[in-house]
Amino acid sequence: MITIHNLTKTYSGNTVLKIDDLEIPSGSSFGLVGNNGAGKTTLFSCLLDLIKASTGHIENNGVQVDQSEEWKTYTSAFIDETFLIGYLTAEEYFYFIGELRGQNKADVDALLGQFQDFFHGEILGQKKYLRDLSKGNQKKVGIVAALIGKPKVVILDEPFANLDPTTQIRLKKIIKEMVEDPNVTVLVSSHDLVHVTEVCKRIVVLEKGEVVKDLMTSEATMQELEAHFNK
């Protein structure tokens, strides 16, 4: 459960994020859409306490993220390539994250086993450092690493971008399976309206940092979104 209170972020007089009240209950998949500069990544960065909010605060399962670091034990994220350690191989990276999240090698291996399909034979045993992988494959690594250690909150920024069609379809399946657990919250941002309406039960549209639409996904959602962005 994530609650946002009076959150704003201002850069030299320019407000890029302004969310008065937003509540994301556990066991849901939450989609964030919006054009470039709408504040999606800023919101996620605030959630991860990577950016200090100008006013207001965020609570992640009762923990105020800029006051305590407790939320880190059950939250994981993949925002961009700064979440990857370029000089490690994929395996080394997974084990490293695993150790940070209290998982031993066997645990990590078991988890990776479930994602053989998703990796499509391009990640494990590649004899390459992460920095030498293609953008799409880096993304696969980052997304799977964010699932290590049974996190209760998973934050993925633009997870579908750069992925090939097969992997996009597999990722949608993974996200849907994840939120079957009532304790898990998945937050996803995307520019792809089709994907996001398919995987998310709830979709919030940001525009210039403000929530302009808050929809429970239904048959009509896609049309409504298209109408909104086609203004």
Partner: protein, 491 residues
């Protein structure tokens, strides 16, 4: 055509993200350049008169004798420091530029590199004196000078050609060290064989053709190599070797710290920039020779011993430690959103520095040659480094917000912003405090009292480890957002 290149260069220089923030650094760099120019100028004049008056030898003969070292040392420095002539080539490839032009321009830039110009400040005064004071024939001297210029430019292009080869620098470095050592101790004098070559370049007028032809061949080779490499999958791609996943499980005995220690070891092994710090610390091992051999008079005072010993044992500590946590700048957001205990993270870096200091101290046992006294200085300096300096550099590092591009080693010496006032202040106790402590003991009682004081300071510092780590942790926390923002800026 060339006009476009110049315009692009101009803009990339003035608009780089680092420029505005690093005005001080630019000034410092300028001062450093000025310093080197003055040293070289002084060296040119000084060497001539020193050889003539003090050694009562022909300056030309002695110069020819040592030129071989000069040229190899030059290659070594270039390898370590000179930037590769890479203009932002990728976007130019599909534009209507001739490839030859791109390569020529890149090479043209290197011709005016500081590493080429600096030699002029030594050799031109030397040549002038050889003619004016030494009465050497003008043409011979000029042709000799030209030969040296050709050889130094040969180095320039050799460096361009060989820059990707990592082992080379180690090979050249060790050859230089071994031959230098053999000559110093009088076993084998390589200059006996090389001096005649340079003498030949002086006495025979057509001999100048040899270095010039070598230079031309190298330019041609470098040109073809670069020309053929102008493809995305060739020279412009980052080389990716086939590598293996490493286990390093034996480090698990370090407990929780092992998670980071394993990572840090990979960091050093797999990134050029980090490997350079290891190289630097090896070079610092030899730094003491300047002091303990009495080679430089200014450094003869007993207090300088401690200064030298701090560097000899602390080369790695100083060059690596001051950039913690910047080494992890590329993935700092990951570190900040993971459940990381700062103490474990810090103690991993601390252990690395301690291990490196201990290894350096063992390697420095070669200094026993200069007497027990010298080695005691090194031992107490090691204790001081572990006890006090390891904490001080980590503390100073917490304020350094320079992102480090791990894969490049361009700026290994003197990264920007590493020089801010806070780090400057914190670097004082690194050097000054042990020297003062020693001086107190030395002049008040005896040299051994001085050593004891420095050693005791080290042991006391060690006791404060946890306190200091708490302090650094607090700094990391308060500076977190600033650090994240600073690391976001590339270049």
């Amino acid at each position: 055509m060339v006009k476009h290149f110049f315009r692009l260069q101009w803009k990339s220089f003035w608009r780089s993200a680092s420029l505005s923030s690093s005005l001080w650094m630019k000034i410092l760099m300028g001062l450093a350049a000025l310093y080197f120019i003055v040293v070289m100028l002084g060296g040119g004049f000084g060497a001539y008169f020193y050889i003539k008056k003090e050694l009562a030898q022909d300056p030309l003969t002695v110069a020819n004798q040592f030129l071989v070292y000069w040229i190899f040392a030059d290659l070594l420095f270039r390898y370590a420091l000179q930037k590769m002539p890479v203009i932002d080539i990728k976007p130019l490839l599909i534009l209507p530029f001739k490839k030859g032009k791109i390569v020529s321009f890149a090479f043209f830039k290197t011709v005016f590199s500081f590493f080429n110009i600096i030699h002029a400040f030594f050799f031109i005064p030397l040549s002038v004196l050889l003619i004016a004071d030494g009465g050497k024939p003008v043409t011979n001297t000029l042709l000799w000078l030209l030969s040296i210029v050709a050889l130094l430019y040969t180095n320039n292009f050799l460096n361009i050609l060989l820059n990707k080869k990592d082992n080379l620098v180690i090979i050249i470095g060790s050859i230089l060290a071994v031959t230098g050592g053999l000559q110093y101790f009088g076993y084998f004098d390589i200059t006996l064989y090389t001096a005649p070559v340079f003498d030949f370049l002086f006495t025979t007028s057509w001999a100048v053709l040899i270095p010039v032809v070598i230079l031309l061949i190298l330019i041609k080779l470098a040109y073809t190599s670069f020309y053929n490499d102008l493809y995305l999958d060739a020279g412009l791609s980052s080389k990716s070797k086939s590598i293996k996943t490493e286990n390093l499980d034996w480090l698990n005995r370090f407990g929780k710290t092992a998670v980071f220690l394993k990572n840090d070891i990979k960091l050093i092994k797999r990134n050029k920039r980090a490997r350079t710090t290891v190289l630097v610390s090896c070079m610092f091992l030899f730094y003491g020779l300047l002091f303990f051999t009495g080679a430089v008079e200014v450094y003869d005072g007993p207090v300088w011993r401690i200064f030298a010993a701090i560097f000899v044992t602390g080369g790695f500590l100083l060059s690596f430690g001051q950039f913690v946590p910047s080494w992890d700048s590329a993935y700092y957001p990951l570190m900040m959103s993971q459940n990381i205990r700062y103490k474990e993270y810090l103690s991993s870096k601390w252990w690395l520095m301690v291990i490196a200091t201990v290894v350096s101290t063992i390697l420095a046992s070669g200094y026993l040659y200069f007497g027990w006294d010298v080695y005691v200085a090194i031992l107490v300096a090691a204790v001081y480094n572990i006890g006090v300096n390891s904490h001080v550099v980590l503390w100073a590092g917490a304020y350094v917000k320079t992102p480090i591009d791990l894969t490049s080693n361009k700026k290994a010496f003197g990264d920007k912003q590493a020089f801010n006032v806070k780090t400057l202040l914190l670097s004082l106790p690194k050097m000054a405090l042990p020297m003062i402590l020693y001086a107190i003991g030395h002049y008040a009682y005896s040299p051994y009292a001085g050593y004891a004081l420095v050693g005791i300071a080290g042991v006391i510092g060690f006791a404060f480890k946890d306190r200091v780590f708490d302090l650094i942790e607090k700094i990391y926390k308060t500076e977190k957002y600033k650090t994240l923002a600073a690391y976001k800026q590339k270049k």
